[in-house]
């Protein structure tokens, strides 16, 4: 079942001589439950693609459909609600609210909708991610790896159709990187979570079942492969 579809996606920054084409005619389709890694060198356009898929940026041309919703037709409010419910975003620098506890950070998307959390699901996520005992801590009291787990928990709390992760291990040591990747794979397998991971680290990309390589705003290759089981 197709959950994401991009057609003729083009993104141009600047005008005249300062014009930079970040994406140039991207066609992409992702099925539900897929774990896709997008790789490319710095400036290849991979982050731009992620931002467009996360509705935090708009394409210059082309269409993007996620879970049946055409993103180009969303106004800012609709885009925010869509982001809240359908997309989970994980950044390299975690982007947690420093003044809120871990629990509040995780429950934020639900709180924005004035919804009460499903305690069972919440417990499952925090147990799986190993942060159950740090729920009342502030982000600044956590290690980088723990902060990234909180960010992942927050992105999963609404059971989004698509989880977008932008270099989620880019700021972590090897051990923490390994653990975060295992968490993502686990959520992909056990929750059937569709994941789109952006990385420039080939080792990390090899954890995905599909690797798309982007260069100068074009898709250079799209390889499907068998992956190892979890190393947990």
């Amino acid at each position: 079942m197709e959950i994401l579809k991009c057609q003729g996606l083009r993104k141009v920054y600047g005008t005249g001589d300062n014009q930079v084409v970040a994406l140039d005619g991207i066609d992409l389709s992702v099925d539900k439950g897929e774990f896709v890694a997008i790789v490319g060198s710095s400036g290849s356009g991979k982050s731009t693609l992620l931002h467009i898929l996360g509705t935090v940026d708009k394409p210059t041309e082309g269409t993007v459909t996620i879970d049946g919703t055409d993103l180009s037709k969303l106004n800012p409010t609709q885009a925010a609600i869509f982001r809240r419910r359908k997309v989970g975003l994980v950044y390299q620098f975690y982007n947690l609210i420093p003044t809120l506890t871990v629990r509040k950070n995780i429950l934020m998307p639900l709180a924005l909708d004035k919804k009460k959390p499903n305690q069972e699901y919440f417990q499952k996520i925090v147990d799986t991610l190993g942060i159950a005992d740090r729920l009342d801590a502030l982000p600044s009291q956590l290690s980088g790896g723990q902060q990234q787990r909180v960010a992942i928990a927050r992105s999963l709390i609404y059971r989004p159709a698509l989880l977008l992760a932008d270099e989620p291990t880019g700021n972590l040591d090897q051990k923490n990187s390994r653990e975060i990747m295992d968490m993502l794979k686990l959520s992909n397998r056990s929750l059937e979570q569709t994941i789109l991971l952006i990385t420039h680290d080939e080792k990390v990309a090899l954890e995905a079942e599909r690797i798309i390589t982007i260069q100068d705003g074009h898709i250079l290759s799209d390889d499907r492969r068998e992956v190892n089981s979890l190393s947990m």
């Binding site: 940026d57 982001r83 975003l89 982007n95 947690l96 509040k104 429950l107």
Partner: protein, 741 residues
């Protein structure tokens, strides 16, 4: 959750919250003060009208029987109906109506008139009073500007405050753009972000708004009492203010304050909520320059720290715009005001009070009187406490001057070549000039003759034979020349005075003497028409001439000089004695020199206090902006300074940067104002012909220096507080801040 987020932010960023609270307090204080002052102004106006014209709301003129009057009094909406004895005349009773509610006046007065059998055209409404209670009769076309003026001033004040204080909110909000970007990236809508910021603003400002309102009310009352102290009720037409307040005013003030604060918070909140998540999340809150700027002067004076401080100031230009403009305008206005009033005081003192010090102490104008028929003259001159009393009247006439009569000096500056046509008319045989007549009572005229060394006689006139050098515009130090030739003066025993407007009608007046001395009167001669030839005449001679050439003014003036070293109390007694002597049967206006001097002094001080207060207010706004900016930018400056530290700048260099910034903010108004003030003062000195040394001796250097020091001290304090917050920088912590992406 929003609540918790906001309260956490407030706890962790007390300085940022403080600047918002101070802004809200200042806004509430100013608006409350404005509303309180307006209410008291309105109250004063109502009291004034009631005192001067009575508190009636409508008036019926016509015959009214006692039964009809009872019927009117019994009318449901009428509180009272009173016959106005002063205004009533034979057969026409004037009845003043007082209603319970002003809203009923226009509707019920015609019905009451009908009930009393008085035609509608005999109704008079007290439009001036009614307008103060929002009751406007369509027939009343006079502009009633009090309320529109208040609305305009309040709107302008609110707008100015929005411009000023929205920056405090913006600083506090912009420091968290990145965090709101995170909220947005996980699905917070723009509306939710806006609501969060506005709720936060409301909770931050509630207490300051309340306190500001109370302080404003207190300040307003205090100002009213101060006005009473400064002005009292000595000024004619002024009564003492009874300070008051009304709950409705409080409601209006709270509404206006809340609206002002809300708009101030809403503007940056809207801007922030409109940012795309990507823009917001990429924002690090650091000062940015849009394009490359050079701070050459600061770099030259202070080195690299100067350049960095200059760039930081340029990056903050928008945030500091209000502060820069307010401080500049306040200092400029204060300096100019001080200089202007000092100059004005010197000028008034020299041209008025000092000049007339030995000329008059009490000046009386008697309406519809004539000097030749003024029996009280002798009694006036014998009043105890009066050194002299000159009774005089002015009249207009014309005189023909031939070329042969003109003095050589007069000819040397072009004779009448520069004379305006409406003053001097060239006619056959010469020029027709104005010949103002000053008719003195006989005794005073005789004394004047003795004073100038002429034979004391009452059958002729004394002519002032002088003309100002018309080519020299210095009115303060005029140069006079003889008007008429000495030879011709000696050979011309008569002056032919012609009726102004009908020059064919003439009368011959013997000339007793030509002189350059004028009698001690509160009069200025040849101020507009330099070419007039002034004649002094005795009243007895005028009695004969009046019927021939006419032209006398309607009023008689009395110039009374008290004994040397006379006090205000003595003058008051003398004034009362004069009023008792001539005020019983005549309409009289009286001026008292010492009281006038005191009133002028008080008014000047009052005006200086008012304008000075305005300047201080402007400065407070500017300084408030400096404080809100410096206290609000702690976070962004920490990051900026961390970067500087990471490339090797020392904490001492950072402190130097702060000092330079403070110096520029406080110094800019001075650097711009001083040359402009010097230029303005130079122009004013030139125009008023006051000698620079004279001005410098009384130059208001102390108040200007104090005002300046206050500005510098406040800016220094704000930057010291900011430095206190910024200086503890943990390089690793700041550069590892969560806002890094």
């Amino acid at each position: 959750m929003w609540k918790e987020y906001s309260s956490d932010y407030r706890k962790n960023n007390p300085s940022s919250s403080l600047s918002v609270r101070i802004s809200a307090l200042i806004s509430a204080l100013l608006l409350s003060l404005l509303c309180c002052l307006f209410y008291n102004l309105w109250k004063y106006e109502v009291e004034r009208i009631e005192l001067e014209e009575g508190g009636w709301q409508s008036r019926l003129t016509g015959e009214m029987s006692p039964e009809a009057l009872d019927n009117v009094r019994d009318f449901a909406t009428v509180e009272d109906a009173v016959v106005n004895e002063k205004k009533s005349r034979d057969g026409e009773t004037v009845t003043d109506l007082y209603f319970y509610h002003y809203r009923d006046v226009l509707q019920d007065t015609p019905r009451i008139a009908e009930l009393a059998g008085i035609p509608a055209e005999k109704i008079t409404y007290h439009h001036q009073l009614l307008a103060l209670f929002f009751v406007r009769d369509p027939q009343d076309t006079a502009p009633r500007l009090l309320f529109p003026l208040f609305l305009l001033i309040t709107a302008m004040a609110s707008f100015s405050l929005v411009v000023i204080i929205h920056n405090s909110f913006a600083v506090s909000m912009n420091a968290r753009i990145h965090q709101f970007g995170i909220f947005s990236s996980i699905g917070a809508t723009p509306k939710q972000i806006r609501a969060c910021l506005l709720q936060e603003a409301a909770s931050l400002c509630a207490l300051p708004v309340l306190m500001g309102n109370l302080l404003g009310i207190g300040g307003g009352m205090g100002l009213m009492l101060l006005t009473n102290v400064l002005l009292g009720s000595d000024i004619p037409g002024r009564h003492e203010v009874n300070p008051g307040y009304h709950p409705l005013v409080l409601a209006v003030t709270l509404l206006v304050t809340m609206a002002t604060v809300w708009v101030s918070a809403w503007l940056p909140a809207r801007k922030l909520s409109r940012l795309t998540p990507l823009e917001a999340i990429r924002n690090t809150g650091e000062l940015q320059l849009k394009r490359r700027k050079n701070s050459r002067l600061l770099a030259l004076l202070f080195g690299v720290e100067g350049e960095l401080a200059g760039n930081a100031l340029k990056a903050q230009r928008k945030a500091l715009r209000t502060a820069s403009l307010s401080l500049l305008f306040s200092f400029m206005a204060f300096t100019m005001m001080q200089c202007f009033f000092t100059l004005s005081e010197i000028s008034t003192r020299e041209t008025y009070f000092e000049r007339y010090q030995s000329v008059w102490d009490i000046y009386v104008t008697v309406k519809d009187a004539s000097v030749e028929n003024f029996p009280e003259t002798e009694a006036l001159q014998e009043l105890a406490g009066a050194e002299s009393a000159i009774v005089y009247q002015k009249a207009v006439a014309k005189r023909l001057i031939t070329e042969a009569e003109l003095s050589e000096e007069m000819k040397s500056f072009g004779a009448f070549s520069q004379a305006p046509g409406h003053y001097v008319a060239q006619v056959e045989g010469g020029w027709l000039v104005n010949a103002p007549l000053v008719i003195l009572d006989d005794d005073s005229f005789l004394a004047y003759c003795e004073q100038i060394g002429a034979a004391p006689r009452l059958d002729g006139a004394v002519v002032i034979n002088r003309i100002r050098d018309v080519t020299n515009p210095d009115f303060r130090h005029p140069v006079f020349y003889p008007y008429l030739k000495k030879d011709s003066v000696g050979e011309a025993p008569v002056s032919v005075l012609r009726q102004s407007g009908s020059e064919d009608v003439a009368a011959q007046v013997p000339i007793l003497a030509y002189t350059t001395q004028v009698p001690a009167l509160r009069e200025e001669y040849a101020t507009l028409d330099y070419y007039e030839l002034i004649h002094f005449l005795p009243a007895s001679l005028w009695r004969e001439l009046r019927g021939q050439i006419g032209g006398a003014e309607e009023n008689v003036q009395i110039c009374v000089l008290g004994k040397e070293g006379v006090t205000l109390e003595e003058l008051n007694d003398l004034e009362a004695a004069i009023a008792a002597l001539i005020g019983q049967s005549r309409a009289v206006e009286s001026e008292n020199r010492i009281r006038e001097y005191d009133t002028n002094d008080t008014q000047l001080q009052g005006m200086m206090a008012f304008f000075g207060g305005f300047c201080v207010l402007l400065a407070v706004i500017g300084l408030g902006n400096v404080f809100s900016n410096t206290l609000g930018f702690v976070r962004q400056r920490r990051r900026e300074f961390a970067r500087y530290l990471s490339v090797g700048l020392t904490p001492a260099s950072l402190r130097k940067m702060f000092c330079i910034e403070a110096l520029v903010i406080a110094g800019r108004p001075i650097l711009i104002t001083l040359p402009l003030a010097a230029l303005a003062v130079g122009t004013m000195l030139k125009m008023s012909y006051v000698a620079p040394g004279e001005f410098l001796a009384e130059a208001p250097l102390l108040p200007i220096a104090l005002f300046l020091l206050a500005i510098v001290a406040c800016v220094a304090l704000s930057y010291s507080l900011a430095w206190w917050n910024v200086r503890k920088i943990s390089l690793a912590e700041v550069l590892r801040d969560d806002t890094m992406m």
